[in-house]
Symmetry: C2
Subunit: 309 residues, 2 copies
């Protein structure tokens, strides 16, 4: 399939599924969404989707939907957005206009299941020109808590921009390259808003929140404060400004399926100064609203531009 | 700390935290549970816990609590079990008598965060003699769907009983040994019940549901049906009878913290015959109730034995 197809004279960016077996299936059950091609009219339900926002917490994805509905003037009085995946508790999914919002739980395996089924959902729905943004939380390195970081490169625990996928017991290395132009556009949105600090930097993606991120407060810890500081200083020197647990497989899978993708995470604390989240509930809540404000601004801007052209 | 301590003449099995930093912390915030040592009286809330059941789905862990309350005669009329972690949507936690029930989401990173905080919770609560059982769902290899499998060894994608933890960027290999005696006791419970097939076998734990488990129905697939069958046949030859996504880190972390641990998963399909979950909702629901029936029977038996002695 070509990267971009001509359709009615306009250049259209299609979604790839790199799986020859799918075409021979009469039905495709998206088990963890409780949706399927024979039980649901996916093109009717999702064909108009242009933006997908994903995040760990189902509550946050619901609140994002309410927020974006208001921003786009699409919320009626007492508008309620039903959870499209109400038949399962694995993920939650909401839709308002061209914006789909999906939760992905915590960690690479959890977001990977969601992305396999999301990519197939967008493909079966014949969506085109879709932008996917992960809005999340993270630990910062050398940044003021509350800073919003747009990921330049997602790197592994030795600061390399790669994701290792095990296939039939063998490792296959995939690129974690994200869309540079989109990252710059999002940075500009942060400047437009001027409500909080927004920066671009590298994001380290780990398989674990405690030992994998050099925390001293897990159930197990075999290293010293000095070891921790040395490791975080090495990460900083490699351009890493925050740490989270989903960006590498997110970048790799979006790239493979030709989806324009970005990662926008707020930093809840500065890991150079501590490990525990001691800020008040209200402060943390305010921080968590920042990525959604930034991405909401971006979506509004894009929809305004597309109406003009 | 010794493996077993003498307390009032009785042999007591303590919980380990292998982290010297914890003792110097004035407060410990269990962030993903929304609990903490300075905000909650953990020994009063959890000191009597003897059994912890963990599973991916919050709904299933709630239903397990209702089931075990009834089985143990601890449920009043219209009994309601509040979610102890109601302040967060990361995990759900319920308690009835000596039984704690906690959800862990999907995949190694998600269960690992939960286990770090659970182990610290049990430690801070000064719990002793705790048994932890993961009750879950899985794909079977060469087993009739609905079979309940008790894990002998949790193995990785090349069928080795090990879990690789990255610490400060370097891999540390941990044993995934589970309690053999507990597994045999659980097998006996399956025989007592005689309601479904219960077997002991090895469990393969993967980081991914689609490519990592040789499925042909993901968004990406670079191998043939023959490649898939060859890989699953190799797994079968190595004693693997089911595949899931949490057992290796669960086994490793329970072993490190001196918790008696078992993994009891029902197989929802036979992967040699297909990849999609095509069974009806009711059939799958019935399958998912089997691990909870088996573990419920075990807990009842143990509590009866302890009253006798």
């Amino acid at each position: 399939m070509p990267l971009d197809e001509e359709k009615n004279g306009a250049c259209v960016r299609s979604i790839y599924v790199n799986n020859p077996h799918l075409d021979s299936m009469t039905d495709d059950i998206l088990y963890h969404f409780n949706l399927g091609t024979s039980t649901h009219d996916l093109p009717a339900m999702f064909g108009d989707v242009k933006f997908v926002c994903v995040g760990g917490s189902p509550w946050r994805m619901k609140s994002f939907t309410e927020y974006i509905a208001k921003e786009l003037g699409l919320s009626g009085t007492n508008a309620e957005y039903p959870n499209i995946c109400a038949g399962t508790d694995r993920y939650a999914m909401y839709k308002v206009g061209p914006v789909l919002s999906v939760s992905h739980g915590m960690g690479i395996p959890s977001i990977s299941i969601m992305l396999h089924e999301l990519i197939k959902l967008l493909y079966h729905s014949r969506c085109t020109d879709v932008t996917v943004v992960r809005i999340g939380t993270s630990g910062g390195i050398g940044l003021k808590p509350g800073t919003v970081l747009i990921t330049k490169q997602s790197v592994d625990s030795v600061f390399q921009p790669r994701f290792e996928q095990i296939i039939l017991g063998k490792p296959v290395v995939r690129s974690t390259e994200l869309d540079g132009e989109l990252a710059e556009e999002l940075l500009q949105c942060g400047k437009d808003l001027a409500e909080f600090d927004t920066v671009i930097g590298n994001t380290m993606c780990t398989l674990d929140f405690y030992e994998g991120q050099a925390r001293l407060d897990g159930a197990f810890c075999s290293y010293s404060e000095e070891d921790k500081q040395r490791y975080l200083a090495e990460a900083y020197a490699a351009g890493v400004r925050n740490i989270e647990m989903e960006s590498s497989v997110f970048a790799a899978m979006c790239k493979l399926s030709n989806l324009r993708a970005a990662v926008v995470c707020v930093t809840l604390l500065d890991r150079l100064k501590g490990d525990q989240l001691t800020s008040s509930h209200d402060v943390l809540k305010n921080y968590q609203e920042r990525p959604q404000a930034l991405v909401g601004h971006y979506i509004k801007k894009k929809l305004k531009d597309s109406k003009k052209s």
